[in-house]
């Protein structure tokens, strides 16, 4: 445990949590955690997904009740039985998922649940009050706008305003940057600093090291429910050191991979056209191929047809024209079962609804593809003993952290759930795998685990199509990258070799915004 002892003693503690214990069925979420918040600081709370950060802060915000431990606010012990109590004591939380009524205006949402106004709403009067408050903290938003008209960033501002209007002194932000675009993140940081300048204190929950070291004055780190660092100054600690405190081992920031040795073409996508859910054209003549023993990336800004490509390949979406060949067999516009029987593995974008059945156990989820075959299928019946045995083997092999394989998968953290899905897909020894956003929303340790599994597939000779919005991930894993823009492939680039990363990023960036590769090359030749 790293403690900072001296310099902080003269600044008063606004919040102190002592020995907090919180249990959920099968999980010890917080194990005697201590947490100290100084007046007027931004305090980063770091930890992997499932480390217990949100739980600890939900206790502080009055949403959960701790089993053991005490909360002191300004030195006075407090018991919160609801978020209302916490707000009364000056502590408010902005959750990751916004709690705003879409059909109501900003002002209405802020006034919801307050005792004032008593009966008549008199909205114009409160509109101007809220506009004023927003101005003070640099939170620009039109009080008369309906929530559904606002961007995600603006909605977050409404959530912050909601807490400020209630007069909180301590604002807890749960993963506030997860939903924001880069420019919006900068805006949020400006707001948080403005709040500090006006005497508020902020707790900033995140699993992103970079952001925490950019914004926080001091940092606390949680790992598996235990506090591994408490209030260390963020200036005095390196990113590597913080990462080690988070995951308990050195995190390798660059993944080393062997040079590729691609064999014959496994997947051939030939000029496909498809529509999205709204019936609008989403794919307009996409062609690409993936060879055995290589990872091929698809880059692009979200919503340019990436989901649709993966769905057409996996057999979950009809294509209007063109075809998808897997080892020479046509798999497009056929059943998903046909694809599976021909060696297709699919790691979908939506882990909880497409990738798994949330209410079923880990065992049920891992046998979903191979239940037709021996040893799971025995004389046409399921052999649940064999299934449980398999699930336990996979649990160990893929490092799925749960008390039991009979746990419903909806209770798993994102990283564990993704490992369950990958365990199922990989254990079928696929010839081809399509993975969509496999690391989105996962923490550092889990991301690395998933990436290693994908590389292992490549080394085992499988063909992998990786669709991701994380350019860094694509560059570190892929051998080739296709860039998609508005349902068309803008071009293909090779990774590694003579191409330097900065040059690649520049070219890919141009393609992502709609410039075809030929044009870039032509202009390059002229210049």
């Amino acid at each position: 445990m790293t403690e900072q002892s001296s310099s902080t003693s003269e600044i008063p503690l606004i919040v102190e949590m002592r020995g907090i214990v919180k249990r959920f069925p099968g999980v010890l979420a917080n194990d005697h955690v201590d947490f100290k918040l100084l007046h007027g600081e931004i305090h980063g709370l770091l930890g992997e997904n499932g480390a217990g950060k949100s739980t600890l802060m939900n206790v502080l915000a009055g949403l959960y009740r701790q089993e053991v431990g005490t909360i002191f606010v300004n030195g006075v012990p407090k018991v919160f039985s609801s978020p209302r109590d916490a707000i009364k004591a000056g502590i408010g939380m902005v959750h990751q998922h916004f709690m705003l009524v879409p059909s109501q205006t900003v002002t209405e949402n802020i006034l919801l649940g307050l005792d004032e106004p008593r009966f008549f709403l008199r909205l114009p009067e409160y509109d101007s009050k809220i506009a004023e408050l927003g101005e003070r903290f640099g939170l620009k938003v039109d009080p008369r706008a309906k929530i559904w008209q606002l961007s995600v960033g603006e909605q977050q501002r409404v959530e912050i305003l909601k807490m400020l209007y209630r007069g909180v002194d301590v604002l807890i932000m749960d993963e506030p940057t997860a939903v924001l675009a880069p420019q919006e993140i900068e805006g949020l940081f400006v707001t948080l600093r403005a709040m500090i300048a006006q005497g508020k204190s902020v707790i900033f929950i995140s699993h992103k090291l970079q952001e925490v070291s950019a914004i926080a004055d001091r940092v606390s780190v949680l790992r598996r429910g235990v506090c591994t660092a408490s209030g260390v100054a963020s200036k005095g600690v390196s990113r590597q050191e913080l990462a080690r405190l988070m995951v308990g081992r050195e995190v390798v920031f660059s993944i080393d991979k062997k040079p590729s040795n691609p064999q014959g073409v496994v997947l051939e996508v030939d000029d496909i056209y498809a529509e999205n859910d709204k019936g609008l054209p989403a794919l307009r003549g996409v062609s690409l191929n993936v060879r055995a023993g290589e990872i091929v990336g698809v880059a692009g800004v979200a919503g340019n047809g990436q989901s649709e490509i993966s769905q057409v390949i996996a057999g979950m979406r009809q294509c209007k024209q063109g075809q998808v060949l897997l080892n020479g067999d046509k798999v497009s516009n056929r059943t998903t079962l046909f694809g599976i029987q021909h060696g297709m593995a699919y790691v979908p974008e939506d882990r909880t609804h497409v990738g798994s059945a949330p209410n079923l156990s880990i065992t049920d989820n891992v046998i979903m593809k191979n239940y037709r075959k021996s040893p799971i299928s025995k004389n046409g019946l399921l052999d649940m003993k064999a299934a449980t045995r398999l699930a336990n083997e996979l649990k160990t092999a893929y490092d799925i952290i749960v008390p039991s394989v009979s746990t419903p998968v909806r209770l798993l953290s994102g990283g564990n759930l993704q490992r369950v899905i990958l365990a199922r897909e990989i254990s079928g020894l696929p010839a081809f795998m399509v993975a969509v956003q496999p690391t989105r929303g996962l923490d550092v340790g889990a991301i690395e685990g998933v990436q290693r599994l994908l590389l292992a597939q490549r080394e085992a000779g499988a063909a992998v199509l990786l669709i991701s919005e994380e350019l860094e991930e694509l560059l570190s894993l892929s051998d080739r990258i296709y860039v998609i823009y508005e349902g068309k492939i803008m071009g293909e680039v090779k990774v590694g070799g003579e191409n330097a990363d900065e040059m690649l990023v520049d070219v890919i960036g141009q393609m992502m915004t709609g410039t075809p590769l030929e044009q870039i090359q032509k202009e390059g030749a002229v210049a």
């Binding site: 978020p83 209302r84 709690m99 009524v101 879409p102 059909s103 109501q104 006034l111 919801l112 709403l121």
Partner: protein
Amino acid sequence: MDFTIILQAGIASGTVLLFATIGELFAERSGVMNLGVEGMMLIGAMSAFSTTIATGNPWLGVLVAMFFAGLISQIHAFIVITLQADQVVSGLSLTFLGVGISLVLGEGLSKAGTVSLLPNFSIPLLTLIPIIGKIFFTNQSVLVYFGYLLVPLSWYYINHTRPGLHLRAVGEYPSATDALGINVFRTRYFYVFIGGMLAGLAGATISLAVSPGWFSELTTGGQGWIAIGLVIFAQWDPIRAAVGAYAFGALRRLILDVQGPLLLLGFANPFYYNPYLGFFLQMLPYLFTVVVLVIGSREAMKKRIGAPAALGNPYIRGERGK
């Protein structure tokens, strides 16, 4: 014959639909669909009539009707709010229950003769307005005038008061509302009760004012279903609900009349000369019901027509990992 007399009667008959529609609108705004309106109206009509026979006081009849219909609505509230059962199934069974109870307790009421009814009167000065004065403000029941007041009051209440704000929030996003310390369950019970009371008032309006007497299940004749359909037509807005209710009320009157349509619309009443067409009219409530059920069970459809987002969904306090 003056066609205004027909429209005047149409407004009175539309008042029945108005009460039932506004009542259902309140319940649905809180997120609870109650398909038991027909049953609650029958309970109201029966208890209003029988109370008035027993006591001779129609005002007491109205109060008893509202109380009993409100009471029976709480069965639905308990089933769908506390027990979190399917709202469509529970609502349908509430109609069966209401019809059953009112038929049993109303046995013999049809021969009970006449009772003293709620007073009719005209509003001085307003009657002088050409046509409108005649249709809306001349010799109408006191309940009709109450209906005129109820519409703007409901609209203002829903859109411009704090409890109205809470009502809307509960129907749109109950978990967010709960997090802000508003009791979702209590709010929903309350507005289901309001819905029941207004359905009871609608029943009392029939049996004590518009078409006095007790004619077993024909007393309401499917108007409860029309009210449920009107809520959707009105897109959960009281002003539009009033327009729909009065239009439907007028339509019901016109159809029974020979000369009215000729005077008003320029062609003879087809229903009068072809009685078979009347059967199609009688089908309307059931057609409405089918539409309501289709809409109630399709999330995408609900979103498109602007229904309260949580309509039809029980509220369950969140668990971890959801």
